[in-house]
């Protein structure tokens, strides 16, 4: 009578007990590979940060007169003044985009989740996802060819004439329409799908019970939305908006194509005096840049990275605080 399970196993597998070790090798290799892939992520991200810092350092340590427009002749303004208007332009364009896109994003999400017929809403959800994947260069072309001239002709002058006393709408309207207002609108259209998609998802997750409780109490549809859906979806909407903000901050091509930039701080929406954004500035300048100019652009990229990182961290914080 055999009393050894190992013998028993050996007989079955036709191998010695080390055959068990073969499997273990497979396990070790596979788990090692997957852990290695995880480490690749960490290394890559560290690489991104380190390479950017390393390549940006020459610009940060150089004499201020060598940095910025005219830097090659020693008439530059220095890095901080140079990046200042860019940061301002980046944030300003994103704020405009966000203030347009968020209300519309919520409204459309509500329309899809609570107003549209069920079958239509599924299709609409799909269309929204698709719109999020339309390449930004296409939005840029559309902005420059279609939206900018149309707005400059029909809309901006009206605001300028009737509401020109508000500083935002003042100044001379740029006839080509390549102004901050158009950039803001195009960015809004671009980030709308993300905001809508995330809001729609949380709205659809509203517990049916809460909605029915509200309706059973005789609430109208709007009242049901206000007391059941919106409070439930608030943090989702916020994190969607933050994600949209992150995307708007980093958006390059649409801005690069549309905006007629200048190195200024200006809140005016329709004029030719528009602060550029970091990303668009890099895209426009990089192909023609050499030496220290490249370092300067990489340094501005580093600043952009820091800004988006900050926004993303805040966004995670909000979405973590979501009702689990």
């Amino acid at each position: 009578m055999s009393t050894d399970i190992t013998d028993d196993i050996n007989r079955d597998t036709g191998d010695d007990f080390a055959s068990g070790q073969v499997n273990r090798v497979g396990d070790r290799v596979f788990s090692g590979m997957s852990r290695g892939a995880g480490l690749v992520i960490l290394v890559t991200l560290a690489g991104v940060a380190l390479f950017l810092i390393w390549r940006a350092l020459p610009a940060l340590t150089a004499d201020p007169s060598e940095i910025g427009p005219g830097g090659s002749e020693g008439n530059g303004s220095g890095f901080l003044p140079y990046v200042g208007t860019l940061v301002f332009g980046t944030v300003w364009a994103s704020v405009i985009a966000l203030s347009i896109a968020v209300p519309f994003g919520i409204a459309i999400a509500l329309f899809i989740s609570h107003y549209a017929p069920r079958r239509l809403s599924r299709t609409l959800g799909y269309v929204i996802d698709l719109l999020a994947a339309i390449p930004s260069v296409v939005y840029g072309l559309w902005g420059i060819f279609v939206l900018a001239p149309a707005m400059a002709k029909h809309v901006y002058p009206w605001f300028n004439d009737h509401l020109g006393f508000i500083p935002f709408f003042s100044g001379k309207v740029l006839a080509s329409g390549r102004s901050m207002a158009t950039v803001g609108l195009v960015l809004a259209v671009m980030i709308l799908p993300i905001i809508t998609a995330i809001s729609r998802e949380v709205f659809l997750q509203t517990p049916r019970l809460n909605e029915e409780a509200a309706l059973a109490l005789g609430a109208t549809r709007w009242e049901m939305i206000r007391i059941a859906v919106l409070p439930y979806g608030r943090s989702g909407v916020i994190s969607g908006a933050m994600l949209g903000l992150g995307r708007a901050l980093g958006e390059t091509m649409a801005v690069a194509l549309i905006l007629a930039p200048a190195n200024v701080y200006s809140f005016k929406l329709f004029t030719s005096q528009n602060p550029n954004t970091i990303a668009a500035n890099i895209a426009l300048q990089f192909p023609e840049s050499t030496g220290l100019e490249v370092n300067t652009l990489i340094a501005t990229g580093l600043v952009l990275f820091a800004i988006t990182l900050f926004v993303n961290v805040m966004s995670r914080r909000v979405s973590r605080g979501r009702v689990a």
Binding site: S2, D4, I5, D8, F17, G20
Partner: protein, 277 residues
């Protein structure tokens, strides 16, 4: 159970030599992290019989069952002290590969879990195929038919072996899972509440199957259904827990008839007569 009864089994599985898979548990303690789920269990499980583990929810009987083929290790932080021996070999010995242990000691779960990407036949063959055995077509067919016959499913599915396993009824799925488990030719079959997700008729079919399977396998079953324990098992072990946060303990183990009619411990008496649990 006497040795004479098991002669038949050895010839039928063709294991080559006479092997009795008696399970001996000594001083077994099971931990999840710092929490002790099972304390100081000693148990002898007879070969070629059905042993039932009963007890109130949370008493650790499922944990104990899973420690018999090292399945509890799948859960993070689970550790074991003590020994579980099969014919004198400690399953927790330093050179023992849990993967090989599980090929010898199969398991059937509470919810039927056929692989959804595989057909009925592929499900039955999963254990063999995934364990790197190359099977010839006719060999594979034989394994499928034998396992499905042994699990009383052959007649019902022989015309649709290539259909997805997920398309069967709950009871059929569970018998498919049993077929899948016995196709790897284990010596012991552990069943974790195999009927709790099934309707009464399917339950009956699975119970019937257990009575047939014990001719070949040592079966340990966890059940909440005391009638079931009484119907299918020779031996019954009663586990209990003093309170939340306390470990589960083996209170009493005896012939099933004794446990249900004349147990020694008052707690067992209370439980089997339905006074708590």
């Amino acid at each position: 159970m006497t040795n004479n009864d098991t002669d038949q089994r050895t010839t039928s599985t063709g294991a080559g030599s006479f092997v009795e898979h008696r399970i001996t548990v000594r001083d077994l303690n099971i931990f999840y992290g710092k929490f002790r789920a099972i304390a100081d269990v000693d148990m002898d499980i007879e070969p070629q019989s059905v042993t039932a583990l009963i007890g109130p929810s949370g008493c650790g009987k499922s944990t104990f069952l899973r420690s018999l083929n090292r399945m509890h290790e799948v859960i993070d932080g689970a550790t074991v002290e003590g020994s579980v021996q099969i014919n004198g070999v400690d399953l927790y010995g330093p050179r023992v590969d849990p993967v090989l242990v599980r090929r010898k000691i199969g398991m059937v779960f509470q919810r039927p879990n056929p692989f959804p990407t595989m057909s009925i036949a592929e499900n039955v063959l999963a254990g063999k195929r995934l364990n790197q055995r190359r099977l010839k077509k006719n060999e594979a067919d034989e394994v499928v038919e034998a396992a499905l016959r042994d699990s009383n499913l052959w007649e019902e599915v022989k015309d649709r072996l290539d259909a997805p396993g997920g398309g069967l009824s709950g009871g059929q799925q569970q018998r498919l899972c049993i077929a899948r488990a016995i196709a790897v030719e284990p010596e012991v079959l552990l069943m974790d509440e195999p009927c709790s997700a099934l309707d009464p008729i399917s339950t009956l079919a699975v119970e019937q199957l257990m009575l047939e399977l014990k001719e070949k396998y040592t079966i340990v079953i966890v059940t909440h259904n005391m009638q079931q324990a009484a119907r299918v098992s020779e031996r019954t072990a009663f586990f209990n827990i003093e309170g939340t946060g306390k470990p589960g303990r083996l209170i009493e183990m005896d012939d099933t008839a004794v446990i249900f009619s004349n147990p020694i411990q008052q707690a067992t008496q209370d439980y089997v007569t339905g006074r708590f649990g």
